[in-house]
Symmetry: C2
Subunit: 174 residues, 2 copies
């Protein structure tokens, strides 16, 4: 494996990336006041984005395609491979990884809970930046899921943003 995969994602303090219906109003309303989150620098550092179907469907609804100039790989067993010429659809993680290696992908942005969980379970995630919003939602789509074993982390840095957000960087230990 020659690529480096990183996640950069926001959650509520109780660990949800979205409400049960997928909405992120609790995040967007607060994020406007958060100041610089470092996301632009992060996005500029990656050449490839990996998404699951749900994150792809959300990204499609944005006024502007959020992954412009990136190679975008979507991991989905159901999405039509010809649906969108901005993306490449992969049916399995193995097929995705083969493509990433063949293409010499260097730095990968693993976006969305499904992709992050898949990469964590497969030992493919290298870094994780979590931005925590100052709210408890009580229900939603959790960032994390089942794991085959404990995943120990190295904590690199934590910073306090505006509007009550905090942000922590971790490296996944091998």
């Amino acid at each position: 494996m020659s690529f480096h995969a990183a996640a950069f994602i926001a959650t509520s303090l109780d660990g949800y990336i979205a409400r049960p219906d997928g909405s992120i109003d609790w995040l967007t309303t607060r994020a406007e006041q958060a100041g610089s989150t470092g996301y632009d620098e992060f996005l500029a550092s990656v050449d490839t984005v990996v998404l699951g179907r749900n994150t792809y469907e959300l990204a499609r609804t944005f006024d502007e395609w959020p992954y412009e100039s990136k190679q975008v790989e979507v991991l989905s067993t159901t999405l039509d491979p010809d649906a969108d010429d901005r993306i490449l659809v992969h049916r399995t993680l193995n097929a995705l990884v083969e493509t990433l290696n063949d293409r010499g992908a260097h730095r990968i942005y693993a976006d969305g809970a499904a992709t992050i969980q898949t990469f964590l379970r497969a030992g493919l995630l290298n870094e994780l930046t979590i931005t925590t919003a100052p709210v408890l939602l009580g229900a939603g789509i959790p960032l994390f899921g089942d794991l085959p074993a404990d995943v120990p982390l190295t904590h690199n840095a934590t910073r306090t943003l505006k509007a009550g957000f905090t942000q922590s960087d971790y490296t996944i230990k091998r």
Copy 2:
């Protein structure tokens, strides 16, 4: 309501306070190297501790009773009221709150996930300090649970401890 209730609790990065079987080996092994967490100062600041049955049963197993010199109230529908003369057993939250008010409890330590969730749902929690261990467990007993509505928080401070722990203080907005 004249008392002030605070939680001071550690979780894994994926939000668990214990493994599915209740064990906290992932925490204790790391916490030895964390340095000062401020827990002693926190404990010294409270006059009353509120526990659920699970946290009480865990505390009983410690070499030393961890709530010495505190008034300890246990919220449990099943625990024998005469089981332990170091505690007072309450069958309902209303009965507990009545006792706290009658006794003029001032500053309360809400300990354990069940109590913290009960207090959050009832709008009785004022402050929350979460210490996050640098590990993903993948499964366990979650700190947070269902809520009747969003609970917005004010972020007060975040600090980095040793051994990769971080710690954040929040005030629950009213």
